[in-house]
């Protein structure tokens, strides 16, 4: 345990040092990577560990984003409290949904969460306090003065996002290595046997849904921070699909893999853009090339290494052990 704490602190320090050395775009993307890392951890926990398929993580992120923004704007609370409220409300919502979800299996759950992903963000258009399509602002404020003039807004976002992501990963990895993590894996691989051994699998599933939602909500608040805004347009079906994609590309049951998945999600549009510029196809190419690359990667990875690129690596480790 102590080793792990040291590892995380070291990691954080390394990231902050890197943040000082790169230009603003990379810092901004670093914050996005941190955001995706949290969001993907939420999927890994739910799908990779408890075996439930959710296509509605975008909706959970929206709950978190709106909870954070409404808290900050209406209560004038400190920023950390807004993030805490994002966790609280999305967990609450996740628990409610998880109660329904625990009764559903496979495609029924996928359908329900898909419907949620489409429907929930649109609610913002109905109630004026949610700001409609333009959304509401979520302004975590300028970086503290003592950090100096050169300390940009985006670097501030990067610091906050990285700190939150590291904390979230630390806690998640501890949960996954605890009794709960083991039980989830047992339920996933053999639901009947687990039920017979006296474990209430539905309660455990609801718990997984709740924690996963809390993580997603936190990611939603971080996303809102990086764009200073919560709006339905930020939590689209495309986002939900992208998250599932990232989780699969990273290996759906590997927590460390989420960093890689997040990196891929941020890097691919960038690579595609560079490629599009080289090909010189104009707007059409740069709009659709990222999708093309992601889709091809996704299809190949499902066919060849459905459990992620780390799959073969892990197998080696296991054999040795």
């Amino acid at each position: 345990m102590r080793k792990k704490i040291i590892l995380f602190i070291l990691l954080g320090w390394l990231l902050l040092v890197i943040g000082d050395r790169v230009d603003e775009l990379r810092v901004y993307q670093g914050a996005q990577i941190a955001m995706y890392t949290i969001a993907l951890a939420s999927i890994v926990l739910l799908t990779g560990y408890s075996g439930q398929v959710s296509l509605g993580n975008g909706a959970m992120m929206a709950v978190g984003g709106y909870a954070a923004a409404l808290t900050l704007n209406n209560l004038g609370s400190p920023v950390w409290f807004a993030f805490l409220m994002a966790i609280f409300f999305s967990a609450l919502f996740g628990a409610l949904l998880g109660t329904a979800a625990a009764r559903l299996s496979g495609p029924y759950l996928a359908g329900t969460t898909l419907a949620l992903a489409v429907g929930l963000p649109a609610i913002a258009n109905q109630f004026s306090f949610l700001g409609g399509e333009p959304g509401i602002f979520f302004d975590v404020g300028l970086p503290p003065q003592r950090l100096g003039q050169e300390f940009t807004q985006y670097k501030w976002f990067f610091w906050i996002a990285t700190l939150i992501a590291l904390l979230a990963l630390f806690i998640t990895s501890n949960i996954l290595q605890s009794r709960f993590g083991r039980t989830w894996r047992a339920i996933r691989s053999n639901p009947l046997a687990t039920e017979l051994s006296g474990i209430h699998s539905s309660q455990m599933k609801i718990l997984a849904f709740t924690i996963s939602s809390a993580l997603a909500g936190l990611a939603g608040a971080v996303l809102a921070m990086t764009i200073s805004l919560v709006a339905p347009g930020a939590y689209t079906l495309t986002l939900s699909f992208a998250l599932v994609t990232g989780a699969v590309l990273a290996g759906v049951s590997s927590l460390p893999g989420v960093v890689l998945g997040a990196l891929i999600l941020v890097a691919i549009p960038e690579i595609a853009d560079a490629l599009a510029n080289r090909l010189g196809g104009g707007e059409n190419v740069s709009s659709y090339l990222p999708g093309l690359i992601v889709s091809i990667l996704l299809i190949l990875s499902v066919i060849f290494t459905p459990n992620g690129p780390g799959e073969n690596l892990h197998r080696h480790h296991r054999k040795k052990a």
Binding site: Q126, L292, S295, V302
Partner: protein
């Protein structure tokens, strides 16, 4: 009273299009045990073919025929070149639950990108085969047009055709047998793999009709059929995923339900309406309204 009638009529018209998509999803689910998210992509690609023909010939029905043929070929192609490869590699491990979903999502993305690269993202429209003008009954004009009637008629015709194929022909019997019990069907001499591909082709053709009909009163873009997919899927789940009749009933329930929300509650709540209808149905019957005693689970 008039508003109620309008809502019902529009709801049936909307629901009937959902029914086609929902039917396509159910057909594939029954035969392959996969929720085919790429169905929207297949329908979109076929509709683009239909659009090309319809806008060149200026005959909607020619476009529709082209779309159906394209849809059937694309559907068969997806099964033959994609699903067979996918299922040859038996997937195990934590990804097993998501793999088929992810694969079809990937395929949806792939088709969308190819369509986008080929046709661009601009909205295309197809000249509707009938007037969009509301019908006048006596003194009042209701927002229910000849096009709506035509949509309902076209869908009914397709449903009747499908019912005849499935209930009265050997092909239909083979399709049903292969879906219910592939092994027994195979032992009875049915070429189940080929039958499955035919099933995908039929689903593709049906999806293409849905795409063309949606496009006839709306626009076509690489994203324009996403909602059709979502609502078609919700309808299929409401119907219990297994039952073709259930999927049509589910679609009508959903279409009417959503139109009621649109006309009586609020525009923005339509989208969440799908979720509400779904969750209500599933909490009462977790395996859909047409579930048999023993549910098949994925």
């Amino acid at each position: 009273m008039q508003k109620l009638l309008e809502t019902l009529l529009i709801g049936v018209s909307t629901g009937s299009i959902y029914a086609l998509m929902s039917l396509a999803l159910v057909l594939v689910w029954r035969s392959t045990r996969v929720v085919n998210f790429a169905q929207a992509g297949q329908a979109m690609l076929s509709t683009y073919f239909g659009y090309e023909i319809a806008s060149r010939s200026e005959i909607f029905w020619l476009g529709l025929a082209a779309a159906i043929i394209a849809g059937a070929l694309v559907g068969a192609g997806v099964d033959f070149f994609f699903m067979r490869v996918l299922f040859k590699r038996a997937i195990s491990g934590p990804a097993a639950v998501v793999a088929p979903v992810i694969a079809t999502l990937g395929l949806l993305g792939l088709i969308r990108s190819i369509v986008g690269l080929t046709w661009g993202g601009e909205f295309k429209s197809i000249q509707a085969p009938a007037s969009k003008d509301g019908l006048t009954i006596g003194q009042t004009t209701i927002p229910f047009s000849a096009l709506n009637i035509l949509i309902i008629a076209t869908v009914s015709l397709i449903l009747i055709t499908l019912a005849i194929i499935f209930q009265r022909t050997n092909l239909g019997l083979s399709l049903r047998a292969s879906a219910y019990a592939p092994e027994i069907a195979q032992l009875a001499g049915i070429r189940t793999a080929r039958t499955r591909t035919i099933g995908w082709a039929i689903a593709g053709g049906v999806g293409a009709v849905a795409g063309m009909l949606v496009t006839s009163y709306n626009f076509l873009s690489p994203y324009s059929l996403d909602l059709l997919l979502v609502f078609g899927f919700i309808a299929a789940v409401i119907g219990g995923l297994e039952s073709m009749v259930g999927s049509v009933i589910g679609a009508l329930v959903l279409g009417i339900g959503l139109t009621f929300i649109l006309n009586y509650v609020g525009t923005s709540l339509v989208f969440i309406g799908g979720f509400v209808v779904l969750i209500v149905v599933l909490l009462v019957k977790p395996d859909g309204i047409m579930a048999r005693g023993k549910a098949r689970r994925a």
